[in-house]
Point group: C2
């Protein structure tokens, strides 16, 4: 397999690249090369058993070297995220919609030059749905986005499915849940607090909770998301038919449940989470569905989610030391 | 109202323009001007009680004059149709997806210059769904297109809904059924036979039936489609919320029912329809849903469909003489 990761500099892309370097293969397929592409040149994983190319560039003018001849697999993680796409409509459209069209065009060129249609694993999002706190969305639920990011992702799914039907490429679109716990710093995403209420107390820092503790969300750990991306990269796509989009089996959790798990792994930490109702954030996150019934993805072999407590312990093992160091904090 | 019709040279656009000229108003709103845009300069309706501008141009480089300042309403009928979009992927994408993005950009410019967000009535299509002969699609049915035209239309719906949410425009997307009876000549669309089996015998000509008489389709007459476009142009959009797409109340009919109606209005005509099974055409049209349960559009005031026999009589009254003349046939 000759793999490209678009958006390889993000935390999910870096985790995936490291995992591929450690495995050397995907399923029974040996990896023969890896191209890592992002706005800034992404870091290469340590000691890869295959050649790695790192490239800086922009999805608004995708260079041919990002998806070179011989590419079998494209993991397309690059996106302008929800808050930014809402603030800058033109940028969101250019990266999230037109950028994906450029990925389709690049794959089509390889296919029309005689290559096998590359597998494209596309990260769509729970943000392409609405429905709110009471929703439990079935696999055939319509996407009625309440934000530009979600509309662009849903439109891109349609175009990738059509490109698959035409044989330009072979797409699997995963509507990823909100990834928790994100390492690093709080950001301006409306969902930022869902990681912050776990990460910040584990760093010994206070943090604000903008919604009631009864608020529920559809979550996935970084470990689980990486598993799913790898499964999507080598699964048999024949059973997908025309419908290339999947709701992977995430985890529904309330804030109260998250804080209980936090208190279990770090007694006293929960006291660092302060109620600070924010109607603006609540208005956004209240449109997101809190649960899915992901039967199709489960039947297709996507692993079910680990319990909250394991999600927290994995963050402590995988990311807490680096996050602490990055933020100049002592243990 | 200052109205633009994009795709005003097509048979639906011409019928709509004539209807607007005859009415002089839409609902209680007086029409103050009409701009007609198509690849070739479209014909102006006779004796309009308002100024009419006719413009030739391409949706791939939409000129500003097509949607001039002061435009309150855009009826967007322009498209590369299904068979052509399947044969020429780039053209279909450029007109059906990027062309609609150009309409959004044009409306946004007017709005950002201080105008009221223009109502955009967009014609999406039953071809954006799959499901086949046994499907009866509810209003919340997902679009899983089996053709590029349908994928482009469904993606455009998402982008128009998002542009509405952002206040750039105020969209209503109608997923039109197969329009029957189309005037004029047979064309290469897979659905062409659904008009031909009625129109050709009424012209005294033999025609082929590529599917069994049990085949069912979701239909609308040109008269009904024009009614719906006008209703969409002035309805209150507040009840639509985030979901700007509607399945209007078409008519499910089998070929056998269509031929029975034909025989009723023109005894003996049915004998001109010859069984000529065509597996290629059957493979395409068998993916289309044959029925919807269009509760939402009905509740929002879209008129229900007239019976088949009235559809046929309307074709004879409205279009048969002109079609006969156009094709050089004598009565």
């Amino acid at each position: 397999m000759q793999i490209t990761i678009l958006g390889a500099g993000g935390f999910l892309g870096r985790k995936l690249a490291h995992r591929l370097a450690r495995q050397g293969s995907v399923g029974t397929n040996k990896i023969t090369g890896l191209t890592l592409f992002d706005l800034a040149e992404p870091p290469a994983p340590a000691n890869p058993p295959f050649p790695v190319t790192t490239l800086a560039g922009n999805l608004t003018s995708l260079p041919a070297a990002a998806i070179p001849p011989g590419t079998t697999t494209v993991i397309h993680l690059a996106a302008v995220v929800s808050a930014q796409a809402e603030a800058d409509y033109d940028l969101g459209l250019d990266v999230n919609l037109h950028g994906t069209l450029r990925v389709i065009a690049a794959c089509r060129r390889l296919t029309e030059a005689g290559g096998t249609p590359p597998r494209v694993v596309f990260t769509s999002s729970v943000a392409s749905f609405s429905g709110g706190q009471t929703a439990v969305l079935a696999d055939d639920a319509r996407q009625i986005p309440a934000n530009s990011y979600g509309a662009e992702k849903a439109a891109a799914e349609l175009l990738l499915a059509d490109a698959s039907r035409r044989g330009f490429l072979d797409a699997v679109s995963l509507r990823l849940p909100t990834i928790v716990v994100r390492p690093g710093r709080p950001n301006r995403a409306a969902s930022s607090f869902l990681s912050a209420i776990l990460r910040e107390p584990l760093l010994g820092l206070a943090t604000d909770l903008p919604v009631p503790e009864t608020f529920a969300a559809w979550l996935a750990s970084p470990r689980r998301a990486v598993e799913w991306l790898i499964h999507a990269a080598w699964m048999d796509t024949a059973p997908l038919g025309l419908d290339r989009s999947l709701n992977p089996p995430g985890l529904r959790a309330t804030v109260a449940e998250m804080l209980t798990a936090l208190e279990t792994v770090r007694p006293g930490a929960r006291a660092l989470v302060r109620a600070a109702p924010d109607p603006d954030i609540a208005a956004i996150v209240n449109t997101w569905p809190a649960a899915f019934a992901p039967k199709r993805a489960t039947a297709l072999g996507f692993s079910t989610h680990e319990p909250l407590i394991d999600l927290l312990r994995a963050f402590i093992a995988d990311d807490l030391p680096a996050t602490r160091a990055e933020r100049g904090l002592t243990a």
